[in-house]
């Protein structure tokens, strides 16, 4: 598979201005076949704008957006994708079955209603009007509308916002199933664990600029540190003063130490607190990497 056919959606040096606000500043992004790309960033970072450009909802002021090799917006390209937007505005007066039926009519070979119901978990809701559903149920219906057409690529803008933990896990499982069937996914999220749970690659946006882009491993490696976690009575200010300790903080009875050189720190820790329990050392997760990267960019 050569590069051009492997690319599903891309931005090349794309910029977009809304009034005085530069929402996106020369961003280059690529979603390839079968991969999961997470767009991370704080509110107002430009994640939604990036999706809007790739889907053809908005046009870039400069640079280029493509979907399946052409300008976004062609009927053919739209039949091969599914999207869940943040502001969905689904009419509350239609019931769930009517919404699914309407969207099914847009595709030459849509998924069966039974499949959609099973995948999105909207079984008991078909006869309910959209307006009468809870926020979490509405998100599930929006997901159902996104997968109606058997898409080769899904664009999910903060899909699990407003979902409880159980519903989020269920949605992740469904998304993993679609990924395993070869569906590519572009995901924006506030939840770092969501990106960690699903993504192959991560792009971090901040103030409209791409500040980091790479595999999960590469992003993690941006933070060279390791994290030591234990239950200890030592004061965090004392620990923070040790050599080799970059940061120490307390969460309840837990003490968290960030360091580049865990071995000498561990020796000192065990020496000074013989009562230490539940000791673990791990590589910094995406959460730490993200904090670190956005701090550098600020």
């Amino acid at each position: 598979m050569n590069r051009s056919t492997a690319t599903i959606a891309s931005l090349r040096d794309a910029s977009k201005r809304y009034g005085k606000q530069l929402a996106l500043d020369q961003v280059t992004l690529e979603l390839r076949r079968g991969e999961v790309l997470a767009l991370l960033g704080p509110n107002g970072a430009g994640k939604t704008t990036a999706i809007a450009l790739m889907l053809g909802i908005a046009r870039p002021d400069n640079g280029e957006a493509t979907l399946f090799g052409t300008a976004p917006g062609s009927l053919d390209a739209r039949r091969r994708i599914g999207a869940m937007l943040q502001t969905d505005g689904v009419p509350g007066t239609l019931n769930v079955l009517e919404l699914i039926t309407l969207f099914r009519s847009y595709y030459p070979r849509p998924r069966s209603v039974a499949d959609i119901v099973a995948l999105a978990g909207v079984g008991g809701l078909l006869k309910h009007r959209y307006a009468s559903l809870s926020g979490g149920q509405q998100r599930r219906v929006q997901f159902a509308l996104a997968i109606v057409g058997n898409p080769q690529a899904l664009f999910l803008d903060e899909p699990t916002t407003g979902l409880d933990i159980e519903a989020r896990e269920t949605l992740w499982a469904t998304i993993r199933q679609l990924i395993s069937e070869g569906c590519a996914l572009l995901l924006t999220t506030h939840y770092l664990e969501e990106a960690e749970a699903l993504a192959d690659r991560v792009s971090v946006l901040m103030h409209g600029r791409m500040i980091a882009d790479g595999s999960l491993e590469q992003i993690r490696a941006r933070v060279s540190g390791k994290q030591i976690r234990c239950i200890s009575t030592l004061s965090e200010t004392l620990v923070a003063g040790w050599s080799d300790v970059r940061e120490a903080r307390r969460k309840g009875e837990w003490l968290e130490i960030v360091t580049v050189q865990p071995e000498p720190v561990l020796r000192q820790l065990l020496f000074e607190d013989t009562q230490v329990r539940e000791l673990e050392v791990r590589r910094a997760g995406l959460a730490e990497a993200f904090v670190e990267i956005t701090k550098e960019a600020a």
Binding site: D76, A83, L85, T87, G89, V90, T93, S105, Y107, L145
Partner: protein, 257 residues
């Protein structure tokens, strides 16, 4: 994979039909739209055309005149409200964007809304026809009924276009207020409630600015209640107004999208 080749024509028509059907269902389930749209023309007609119009049988010029003008008043609502408010809301809240990302057939969005408005216009015509012929003593030739019906069903389109302009510019909050500011004064100034000759001269002089005036001149003409008889001129003005307004709105919607 080229999916577009495998999309049969029948499926496309089915998609349009569903779009129209759900557009209609949605508005029927919205009492704040359906009730005033379907009932107000009938209520006003009974009140002013029948009860206050004098004789319940025989020659009743008021019942005739108001049939022609309330038909016009009736079709203003589905056009203005059905387009103005729903488009503003759907544009602002992202439903339009989601449908544009989904492979909705081109033209289905506005096409469905237009057919929905024509359907409402037809229902309003039927209501007024029944009331006027039973209670109002209105007698027309079958060809006159037919011509009136066609005027009503297609006469909704200029108001769709005007509503669309409002809907493509105004916020969802502002749209209802703006539409009401257009709707009621325009109906009055076009002589729909009272013949223009009973109104100040100035009102009659500026009446040609308003689309309802032109449509009412046509409806009055076909039922033989005057109108100035410049049928072609009024028809052309309405068509030009409709096209210009649609183009303005369409350009705005494309830029906003």
């Amino acid at each position: 994979m080229n999916t577009s080749l495998t999309f049969p024509r029948g499926a496309l028509i089915a998609s349009y039909a569903l779009e129209v059907r759900y557009e209609f269902i949605r508005l029927l389930r919205t009492p704040s739209f359906a009730v005033p749209t379907l009932l107000f023309p009938a209520m006003f007609y009974v009140l002013f055309g029948v009860l206050m119009g004098g004789h319940a049988s025989g020659d009743n010029p008021m019942a005739h005149y108001l049939l022609a003008t309330y038909c016009v008043f009736g079709v203003m609502a589905p056009g203005l409200f059905g387009f103005g408010i729903t488009v503003a809301t759907e544009r602002e809240r992202g439903w339009l964007a989601l449908k544009r990302v989904a492979p909705m057939p081109a033209g289905a969005y506005l096409g469905a809304k237009m057919l929905m408005a024509m359907l409402f216009a037809f229902l309003i015509f039927v209501t007024l026809a029944i009331l006027s012929s039973s209670l109002g003593g209105v007698r027309l030739l079958p060809t006159q009924w037919l011509a009136l019906m066609l005027l009503v069903v297609f006469g909704v389109l200029p108001f769709c276009a005007l509503g669309l302009v409002v809907g493509s510019y105004a916020s969802a909050q502002a749209a209802p207020a703006i539409i009401n500011l257009i709707y009621l004064p325009m109906a009055f100034l076009s002589g729909l409630w009272m013949p223009l000759r009973m109104l100040p001269n100035m009102v009659a002089q500026i009446a040609p600015l308003w689309p309802p005036y032109h449509l009412s001149q046509l409806t009055l003409y076909v039922i033989g209640q005057g109108g100035d008889g410049l049928v072609a001129m009024h028809g052309v003005v309405l068509i030009v107004m409709t096209v210009v307004l649609f183009v303005i709105a369409q350009r705005r919607l494309q830029r906003a999208g």
